[in-house]
């Protein structure tokens, strides 16, 4: 069902110390449709994050896109200049990272920072009133289920738990009403219980807002439970791609099998009462 984002034979290169070119992402093609969560998995160094960075032209210095097209809503982002990208970045495509603390400024309250995101993406000449912005901020924080949002506006990032901080970062990412979210290991730094809540939140955003999500992770069980489709990267190349049900029941590539075997080994054997969806709380 792709159509929202289509990455077509993307190649990203850099140079090693002696100046020889290195291919970090090698003709990677993948797509994300509206209302679809696609998992991008692979071991550390497989090129997962670089693929996502390349979409928004956020590659680190010395690393560059050497080929391929990146179509977003039919438009080729590789042909856009800085001004054109500014129109897309943060507005139509948002990104969240592993460590939420690094995306927040420790010296400003979270209310201020979410408000900044709201104002930054308002159309020119349509400045909302202070009260209007405040309402939007509280609305966004409610949307990401930050407990007691209205009272939390004056909290600083260090006063929140890791999971609460990731909710705030998601609220900022949603401020502009993006249609695509690039989520780079968004739950890796979190507890399993908090991870489950944040992944539930991604699923709700997909369901309620039709958000397309590219979820980057090394954790196959997370992908199995959360994603529609999965793309497996190994040393910069796509080695396998397909629906979660299909890839996880019939993995075709050895690298996928290896990742799956590790996940199976790590999985606990729990009583059957807990392997099905939880009953609703009374």
């Amino acid at each position: 069902m792709p159509g929202l984002l289509e990455i077509d034979r993307l190649t990203v290169t850099s140079r090693d110390r002696s100046g020889r070119p290195m291919v970090l992402v090698d003709e990677v093609s993948l797509g994300v449709g509206a209302g679809e969560i696609v998992g991008l998995v692979g071991a550390s160094g497989a090129g997962k994050s670089l693929t996502a960075f390349a979409v928004l032209d956020l590659l680190p210095p010395g690393v560059e896109r050497a080929g391929g097209r990146i179509l977003f809503e039919g438009e080729d982002l590789t042909g856009l200049g800085p001004r054109g990208l500014h129109r897309i970045r943060g507005r139509r495509i948002a990104m969240v990272f592993q460590e939420p603390a690094s995306a927040l400024n420790p010296t400003f309250t979270i209310g201020f920072q979410v408000a900044e995101a709201v104002r930054a993406h308002q159309p020119r000449g349509e400045r909302a009133s202070r009260e209007g912005v405040r309402r939007q901020v509280v609305g966004l924080l409610d949307r990401v289920a930050l407990p007691d949002a209205a009272r939390r506006l004056r909290s600083y990032p260090h006063e929140l738990s890791g999971g609460q901080r990731q909710r705030v970062v998601l609220a900022m990412a949603l401020a502009c009403g993006p249609s695509l979210l690039l989520a780079d290991e968004p739950t890796t730094a979190l507890d399993v219980t908090t991870q489950a809540q944040i992944l539930d939140l991604l699923e709700e955003l997909r369901r309620d807002l039709g958000l397309g999500v590219l979820l980057i992770t090394h954790d196959l069980p997370v992908v199995a439970e959360t994603c529609d489709r999965v793309v497996v990267l190994h040393q910069g190349r796509v080695v396998e791609e397909g629906s979660v049900a299909e890839v996880f029941s019939h993995p075709a590539d050895d690298r996928t099998r290896e990742l799956l075997a590790a996940a199976v080994e790590a999985a606990p054997s729990v009583s059957s009462a807990l392997s099905e969806p939880p009953e609703a709380a009374p």
């Binding site: 260090h158 909710r167 399993v192 908090t194 699923e203 439970e225 290896e258 790590a266 969806p277």
Partner: protein, 290 residues
């Protein structure tokens, strides 16, 4: 569960932190991070302390080794009270219990090669005569599955899993009877995680090491721990042999921890959310502050 006299025994441990509302605020609240915990660990046994961040598991681990001074309670190591020991004696006793941290990079000196990291505790505690130090360093590296030439390299030249092996080798150097491992594999990916857990289990069996394994993820402890204590808000809410915790979890919080473990269940999240939406509305909160 065990008839052997405990290696480590704690009674009624309490640790309270003052939560300031800022330097100028009159608001002073306290947090009972550890709220009356009893615990015992036999030689050669592995006990897991499991709970989410803020449950008090790390503070408890630190109190047991007196890296943190508890407000009340007692900690006996080999029958001797640790909490009243003077600093000098405590330093000697530390030989018997060592700690492994979550991110070994934080506990390794970036400008020191691996060899001296391992040699230092050997010298401090006079484990072997000076002429045997190099030999012992090589043995330690072998014990944790690292090549002998690792001694000449710097910490940043190793992968995450290898660094954690260095952290473990360093903890083993003084030949302790007890290892306290605080989230030792949480920063590693699944493939590497399994290997480090295998190493710890192997050390437990081969060296007769007791291990207190602290984790937020129950999945990690199943193959390693004989017993599990589940901590919630500073209290033990469930304590049972590992198999029982997985087969018959009793406390709702334990069940929640078990459910949160991602497993290979395609489509699980969508199904479970849809099912919850049909039933009563439950709002997921984050449980407590930092």
């Amino acid at each position: 569960m065990t008839t052997a006299p405990p290696l480590l025994e704690a009674r009624g441990l309490v640790k309270t932190f003052l939560l300031g509302g800022g330097a100028w605020s009159s608001e002073r609240r306290t947090l009972r991070a550890v709220d009356g915990v009893d615990l015992s660990l036999a030689a050669g046994e592995c006990l897991a302390l499991v709970g989410e961040s803020g449950s008090g598991k790390t503070t408890l681990g630190r109190c047991l080794l007196r890296l943190e001074e508890p407000d009340a309670g007692s900690v006996l190591f080999r029958g001797e009270e640790l909490l009243t020991l003077d600093a000098r004696t405590l330093r000697h006793r530390r030989r018997g219990f060592q700690m492994v941290f979550q991110d070994p990079l934080d506990s390794l000196n970036p400008r020191m090669r691996v060899g001296p990291h391992l040699a230092e505790p050997l010298k401090v505690h006079r484990i072997v005569p000076p002429e045997r130090i190099a030999e012992r360093v090589a043995e330690l590296l072998e014990t944790v599955g690292l090549p002998a030439d690792a001694a000449d390299r710097f910490p940043h030249q190793f992968s995450g899993g290898q660094r954690q092996r260095i952290g473990i080798a360093r903890a083993l150097a003084p030949e302790p009877a007890l290892l306290v491992a605080d989230e030792p594999v949480s920063a590693l990916d699944l493939l590497v995680r399994a290997r480090v857990i295998d190493l710890l289990r192997d050390l437990q069996q081969r060296l007769g090491l007791a291990i207190l394994f602290i984790a937020h993820d129950l999945a990690l402890v199943e193959r390693l721990a004989q017993r599990v204590m589940v901590l919630h808000r500073g209290r033990v809410v469930e304590h049972a042999p590992t198999r029982e915790i997985f087969d018959r979890p009793e406390h709702p919080y334990t069940r929640e921890l078990l459910r949160a473990i991602p497993r290979l269940r395609p489509g699980y999240r969508r199904r479970s959310l849809a099912q919850r939406a049909c039933g009563a509305e439950t709002l997921a909160g984050d449980g407590g502050g930092a």
